[in-house]
């Protein structure tokens, strides 16, 4: 009989279809994930330009577990700096958003430009008293060496990504041409309007949220809404696509107009043939020209964000890990500058399907929490993500777990596991 707790976690199989439970529970591995996935070699989501429309606007957010601030400077540049004072390390910015001319750490009043350059150090040249100068910073103290940590920034279609790693590849290469095309479909240059936020803390490993949106197997089973109304069903016309390294993915689907066939609903206990919404506005779907066909494109950009288009509801979902068994999930719902008031209202009503209380998303958080419970119970066990085989390929159907295998194929390489 195998031990319940691994003596030394080793992933023995060659493939990526059987993910060890300890990949979700091991503290040392988690720190390696922060280091190698969130802080090095990857672009992480920080926000939307529309959140900081005016010079001086800022928004506090996180990359991995590191607090950062997204700013728009007086000369309209988008910057991201780390929220840690260069002096004594205080996390000085407490407001989550606002407008400022400069950042001042309250502890000793060191002040910084919105780009993160140190501009003021009280008593730097000492304090005169009785004809002599007391204290002060050493002569050779150079403010240029003591700014806030400045991150590399990339903006595309109004979406801001940042990286602590200044050697990270260009964003376009990071996403790859196919993911770029789906990204540009949603963020096609129109100005975005922010509709608001939803924030939830999900007691599960952060990777489970990536997997949830790389798993087209569950929506037609867990989510009655999706099955019954054809929004996401095994017989939908669909494609699954990845970047060349299998880390990012898009699940592309077109809603079935016809009634569900018996094959995809037979034995599916969540399918409710008689179900009909009382208020049709919940499913008042209006085709938008930019869709170019698909009614849903769910895009996972590894490791930090999900871009959602589900019919008329569009949002970013930011993954903010805090420990092996918990992450914060921040939803930013938006619209476009040319939306009619009716379209804005439609997006807001369809938002009932998503978020922490959503008709379809609330259960995702629940199954993630309970998966984590299972992992922690016996870390030496493993999952079986073998629907559609063992390999990693793009497909023209959704009866497969290929995207999860793709993600772990990449994860094993970067993590040396």
């Amino acid at each position: 009989m195998a031990t319940v707790f691994p003596i030394k976690p080793v992933w023995e199989d060659q493939g990526s279809s059987r993910v060890p439970f300890w990949a979700y529970t091991d503290e040392a591995l988690y720190q390696r994930e922060l280091e190698r996935l969130f802080y090095r070699g990857h672009w992480c989501y920080v926000g939307l330009e529309a959140e900081i429309p005016n010079p001086g606007d800022f928004k506090r957010t996180v990359i991995g577990e590191r607090s950062v601030i997204l700013t728009r400077t007086a000369d309209d540049a988008i910057c991201v700096v780390e929220n840690v004072c260069a002096h004594r390390g205080m996390q000085f910015c407490r407001e989550r958003h606002g407008n400022k001319k400069e950042f001042v750490c309250p502890y000793h009043q060191w002040s910084y430009t919105l780009k993160g350059d140190l501009q003021g150090v009280p008593f730097r040249r000492g304090v005169k008293q009785d004809g002599k100068v007391n204290g002060g910073m050493p002569k050779e103290f150079n403010p240029a060496e003591h700014g806030l940590t400045q991150l590399k920034v990339a903006v595309r279609g109004g979406v801001v990504f940042a990286s602590f790693d200044h050697d990270v590849e260009p964003l376009e290469d990071f996403l790859g041409p196919e993911m770029c095309a789906y990204f540009d479909r949603l963020f096609n240059g129109r100005k975005l309007t922010i509709l608001g936020y939803n924030r939830q803390r999900i007691p599960g490993n952060w990777k489970l949220m990536q997997e949830n949106i790389k798993d087209p197997y569950h929506p037609g089973l867990l989510h009655t809404w999706f099955v019954t109304y054809g929004l996401w069903r095994a017989d939908n016309k669909s494609e699954l696509k990845m970047d060349a390294q299998f880390r990012h993915a898009a699940m592309i689907s077109t809603r079935s107009q016809q009634a569900a066939t018996s094959e995809v609903t037979a034995g599916v206990t969540s399918f409710k043939a008689g179900m009909e919404v009382n208020d049709k506005r919940l499913l008042d779907i209006v085709q938008e020209p930019w869709w170019n066909g698909p009614t849903a494109v769910m895009m996972t950009v590894f490791p930090s964000v999900i871009f959602q288009q589900q019919v008329n509801s569009v949002s970013t979902r930011h993954i903010q890990p805090n420990g092996t068994g918990s992450f914060d999930f921040v939803w930013t719902h938006f619209g476009f500058e040319d939306d009619t008031p009716e379209m804005t209202q439609r997006r807001l009503i369809q938002a009932n399907l998503f978020g922490p209380a959503g008709f379809v998303s609330a259960d995702d958080g629940e199954v993630i929490e309970l998966s984590q419970c299972g992992f922690e119970q016996k870390p030496n066990h493993r999952t079986v993500a073998e629907l559609g085989g063992y390999g990693v390929d793009n497909t023209d159907h959704m009866v497969t777990e290929t995207l999860i295998r793709g993600m772990y194929n990449y994860w094993r390489k970067v993590m040396d596991v």
């Binding site: 989550r96 922010i194 509709l195 608001g196 936020y197 939803n198 924030r199 939830q200 803390r201 999900i202 007691p203 867990l222 989510h223 009655t224 809404w225 969540s270 409710k272 179900m275 919404v277 009382n278 208020d279 506005r281 919940l282 914060d328 719902h333 804005t344 807001l348 009503i349 938002a351 009932n352 978020g355 922490p356 209380a357 008709f359 609330a362 259960d363 958080g365 629940e366 199954v367 929490e369 309970l370």
Partner: protein
């Protein structure tokens, strides 16, 4: 005018108590019946409310939508079972206009999962418009504006 005659004041308090009882005892059909047909029920983060952002966590804009939520709770949403317990403060009546009482009250909701301790689930205040109808007082608006910065995983039942 911001005072009610004793009878109306009593009816208002009874409505608040009936609401808490309905949502704490999972009497979802009773919950629906406390609203008028063209009602507006929202659960919204304080952040969105104060920044003038329209997004709600739940936005049910008719009695039909309330029924759709009830169907979701009963039939479609998978979730870990839990009890909820509301403690609602004394209503503050702001004004009465055209047969509508505009009032607000603080609330706290505790959640208890099976085999777990009780925890604070959601706290905030109700922003209400209550219509005086021949059948008694009914909500035409209940906005639950919550302080709770992080929803502990998911929110299934109405607040």
């Amino acid at each position: 005018m911001n005072t009610l005659d004793f009878e109306t004041w009593q009816a208002l308090n009874r409505l608040y108590a009936a609401y808490a009882q309905a949502v704490d005892t999972a009497q979802w059909d009773q919950w629906v019946e406390l609203f008028v047909d063209d009602c507006d029920y929202r659960v919204q983060p304080r952040e969105n409310h104060e920044r003038g952002m329209p997004l709600s966590t739940l936005a049910l804009l008719s009695k039909g939508m309330l029924r759709d939520r009830v169907y979701g709770i009963k039939e479609t949403l998978f979730h870990d079972p839990y009890y909820q317990r509301h403690v609602t403060g004394v209503p503050l009546v702001e004004r009465v206009e055209d047969g509508v009482i505009v009032a607000q009250a603080n609330y706290a909701v505790f959640r208890t999962k099976l085999s777990q301790e009780s925890t604070v689930f959601n706290v905030g205040r109700y922003l209400d418009r209550i219509r005086i109808t021949p059948e008694g007082l009914r909500f035409e608006q209940r906005h639950c504006v919550y302080d709770t910065e992080m929803i502990p995983n998911s929110l299934i039942y109405p607040i």
